[in-house]
């Protein structure tokens, strides 16, 4: 209280007439908001601890609870907003870097929402996606410049290693440690079931999940946690993580508290020790060093796995991507400004990087201008929220999209953005065994499968409307997009015309 007091962001509103004092909310809230007042035989709430994860709301059997915005306000100020002011109070109280999680919540333009998709009328027919064949199979990987023939004259069909996806959606890298065992299990199951891949993130691969190798991308990040030969060989592809959209230019830091038992074994570091990923790979200070890392990984795996290089979308992304395309990498993954994270410095998350739509458009065009678009495939993420986003991204030039936050939402995440506290009430971003147990991996997998199935149907519907029956004919098909309310420069970068043109 006093000068340090920051008024709660939310109010816990309980309908006392409905409340049966069952104390479910108390059990469900790992933040200790709810308590039972024996004397007065009623529930109380310490709303200052509430993060609005909606867990108690979802589990209250009589639907007695609502979490609402606290009406208490500062004097209106469009410049000094309440969050800015509160952040100053926090830093005045403790000299720390502000830490946040999930993607940037700031109100910057979401270009996907300002792009509209075409449909066929008269001059060519739309196609009925429910009945006619609609193809969403995607191959990721390098394509050679020229065909080759065998001595008998037939086509030599040998290609560098490729990834085959049943639909243009993968799961983004989320490390075991930042998310729970059950989350990985659900992702692995869903990836196998739907014919796509999940991504280990930088925390290594739990021994239980080696069996899902054909549907796994194993990540190699600057901390090299859990990276060893078996790990590299376990996956279908290897991803070198140079950066991520939520925190370009920043490494990672999993606090020792989360490095317990299995996490320690998987990451191959002692229990309780901090897991620190440096900002750069200390063997890559320049583009030619990247080539060295790409090829060292290819050598280690006998050129059997495609190598992905994941970068954050930053200002110079087109040139960076061009460099990567020439580094021997098979696939470039670009993560946009709004990409999610388990923990990132707030200032970085909210102020560094560029939106994925612009980055993607610039990269795709640049690679085409240089005639090397076929050297690499493009995966984009950060943030892909709907099937329409996927369609727009593919039409801008992406080969596939990766989803992280959307996948977590499917598993129950309520976007309370408190992953960095490790007390995720939904059993996702936590290692607390009691909380982890809340997420049933079978149910979570089913929900992920539902989501991908539904999106794939919607992608087909949108494609059918455009008269396109195979995803490859949508890729880079910018004529199918129009901007609304975008200025000339934005349209130029996106390479699309304005609606009405």
């Amino acid at each position: 209280m006093g000068i340090d007091f920051i008024s709660a962001e939310f109010d816990v509103v309980r309908d006392d007439a409905r409340c049966t004092r069952c104390r479910v909310c108390e059990k469900q809230c790992a933040n200790g908001v709810h308590a039972y007042d024996e004397k007065n035989r009623r529930m109380t709430a310490d709303e200052t601890k509430c993060v609005n994860c909606q867990r108690c709301v979802a589990f209250c059997p009589t639907r007695a609870i609502k979490i609402v915005r606290n009406p208490n306000t500062f004097r209106d100020n469009a410049n000094w907003t309440a969050s800015v002011v509160n952040e100053i109070y926090k830093q005045a109280s403790k000299p720390g870097v502000l830490l946040s999680s999930m993607g940037a919540p700031k109100n910057l333009p979401v270009y996907f929402d300002r792009i509209l998709i075409n449909a066929s009328q008269v001059t060519n027919p739309p196609i009925d996606p429910l009945r006619e064949p609609m193809e969403t199979r995607v191959f990721l990987g390098k394509k050679p410049e020229k065909i080759r023939r065998r001595p008998d004259g037939r086509l030599d069909c040998a290609l560098e290693p490729q990834l085959e996806l049943a639909l243009p959606i993968l799961f983004s890298g989320m490390s075991y440690g930042s998310v729970s065992y059950n989350v990985h299990k659900a992702l692995a199951t869903a990836a196998r079931e739907t014919g796509t891949l999940y991504n280990t993130g930088e925390g290594g691969l739990h021994k239980d999940f080696y069996a899902y190798g054909a549907n796994t991308i194993v990540q190699v990040a600057s901390g090299r946690f859990g990276v060893h030969k078996d790990y590299l060989e376990a996956g279908a592809a290897i991803e070198i993580k140079m950066g991520q959209g939520a925190k370009p230019g920043i490494g990672g830091h999993l606090t020792g508290a989360k490095v317990s038992g299995d996490v320690s074994a998987t990451r191959m570091i002692p229990e309780g020790s901090d897991a620190i990923s440096p900002a750069p790979h200390h063997d890559i200070y320049s583009i030619e060093d990247l080539r060295q890392l790409v090829y060292s990984l290819k050598e280690a795996t006998a050129y059997k796995k495609p190598v992905i290089v994941k970068v954050a979308a930053v200002h110079n992304i087109a040139a960076i991507a061009s460099g990567i395309a020439r580094s021997g990498a098979d696939i470039i993954a670009i993560d946009g400004y709004r990409g999610g994270t388990g923990a990132a410095p707030t200032r970085i998350r909210d102020n560094v990087g560029i939106p994925i739509e612009l980055a993607l458009a610039a990269v795709d065009q640049r690679l085409r201008d240089e005639g090397i678009r076929n050297n690499v495939s493009l995966i984009v993420s950060g943030s892909i929220r709907t099937a329409a986003d996927v369609v727009k991204a593919v039409a801008l030039g992406a080969d596939a999209c990766a989803i992280g936050t959307a996948a977590l939402l499917a598993m129950g995440c309520r976007l309370c953005r408190s992953c960095h506290t490790g007390k995720c009430n939904w059993g996702i971003a936590t290692q607390d065994p009691a909380l982890v147990a809340r997420l049933n991996p079978d149910i979570a997998a089913r929900r992920l499968i539902n989501l991908l199935t539904a999106w794939n149907r919607e992608i087909k519907e949108l494609m059918g409307g455009m008269g396109i029956n195979s995803i490859e004919a949508l890729r880079g098909n910018r004529l199918m997009l129009r901007g609304v309310g975008l200025n000339e420069k934005e349209l130029e970068i996106l390479g699309i015309a304005h609606a009405g043109e």
Binding site: S120, T123, N124, P125, I127, E132, P133, E135, R137, F139, K143, P144, K146, I147, R149, R154, L155, C157, L159, Q162, R368, G371, R373, N374, G397, M466, G467, I468, N469, S470, E472, A473, L474, R475, G476, N477, R478, L479, M480
Partner: protein, 368 residues
């Protein structure tokens, strides 16, 4: 002001027809006109055109350039550029006759040229690539000049009008060739521009097309990586470049190239023998940006043959018929019957099934 092709992409529907003698016999231009005329309903007078093969036997070793000029200034500029690259053995107006329906004719010239060997050698590319680049460069950098035909012993004739009027205008009956293609155009929203009519040609390739493809920008952006420039923003243009790229530059067979643009569905591929599965999967993966979706039926003309192809869903109709040594192709059977009432056989090829007809089984007298 309405924009023309190149400034804007204009969708159009159409009628196509083609005829070829498999023994290389000469067929007069009037024959193909009889066929395309019956499909008057399928065009709207905003574009018609023809391509004939084997029509310049006296100059068969020279590239025949057909050029539209806005004015004589454009012609002088372009001719200067041509002289720099080619030996011009003959330059002339293409003979035309007045037809009340054909208006606003540009200047229409024809040149028989041979690339200057020193220039070709200096660029270290083969002769055909040299000609292709020269055409691309002139069409993209010279205002008011447009080369619309550039093959050897072949020529494209096109204009704004119904195809039968265009044929009359160009005196098509004065030409005879071993094969012909024809097109009647139905563009949606344009006053029509001569250059935008079909066939679209590059070197000895010519394409006539019916339908509007939905993969256009994917195809365009892919092919433009390899030095092509889609000036006209038309389907025929991009389709011509795709075949040029796959066949001439990648060395694929016409059949393989057809499997790129009208690839079988994955479910269909899965039922093929293993070796074929591998090849088709490879082809779809390798050239995924060149898959064409949406309705199309095309006839691709080239030295010594024709290829007819429907989209893989067969959203446009096309019939192929035989009579003796002659093969007929058209959007409608009626057009074929107009060329030859008494046929030996007639059939509709399946979606994505290429029909390839060659003269003398592919052996041409000029060794092309």
């Amino acid at each position: 002001m309405l924009q023309k092709e190149g400034q804007v992409r204009i969708p159009s529907g159409c009628a196509i027809a083609a005829v070829i003698s498999k023994t290389g016999e000469k067929i007069g231009g009037e024959k193909i006109v009889a066929g395309i005329r019956t499909m008057h309903e399928r065009s709207n007078g905003l574009g018609g055109g023809f391509a004939g093969y084997g029509i310049y036997p006296d100059y068969k070793d020279f590239y025949a350039l057909h050029v539209f000029y806005d004015d004589n200034g454009a012609r002088t500029d372009c001719e200067n550029a041509l002289k720099d690259l080619f030996e011009i053995v003959k330059a002339e107006n293409i003979p035309t006759r007045k037809n009340p329906a054909i208006k606003d004719a540009p200047l229409i010239w024809r040149y028989f040229v041979a690339p200057l060997p020193s220039r070709v050698a200096a660029m270290q590319i083969d002769e055909r690539e040299f000609v292709a680049r020269a055409v691309t460069r002139i069409n993209s950098t010279f205002r008011g000049a447009y080369i619309f035909s550039s093959g050897k012993n072949t020529g494209t004739f096109k204009a704004v009008g119904f195809p039968e009027e265009v044929a009359d205008f160009y005196r098509l009956e004065d030409y005879a060739g071993y094969s012909w293609t024809a097109h009647g155009r139905y563009p949606t929203n344009t006053p029509g521009w001569w250059g935008g009519a079909h066939p679209f040609s590059l070197l000895d390739w010519s394409v006539v097309h019916n339908g509007e493809i939905s993969s256009y920008d994917t195809n365009r952006r892919f092919i433009e990586m390899f030095g092509y420039k889609c000036h006209l923003k038309t389907d025929t243009e991009v389709i011509t470049y795709i075949f040029d790229y796959l066949v001439r530059r990648q060395g694929m067979t016409l059949r393989e190239a057809s499997s790129v643009v009208a690839a079988p569905f994955w479910t269909t591929i899965a039922r093929k023998p293993e070796e074929e599965q591998r090849e088709l999967t490879y082809i779809r993966n390798m050239f995924s940006g060149l898959l064409i979706t949406g309705p199309f039926s095309i006839v691709l003309g080239f030295s010594g043959g024709l290829l007819a192809l429907n989209d893989r869903l067969k959203l446009r109709s096309m019939v192929v018929a035989e009579k003796g040594n002659t093969t007929y192709i058209a959007s409608e059977e009626a057009a074929i019957r107009a060329m030859e009432p008494d046929l030996d056989s007639i059939r509709s090829p399946m979606g994505g099934e290429p029909v390839i007809v060659t003269v003398n089984k592919g052996v041409l007298e000029d060794g092309n």
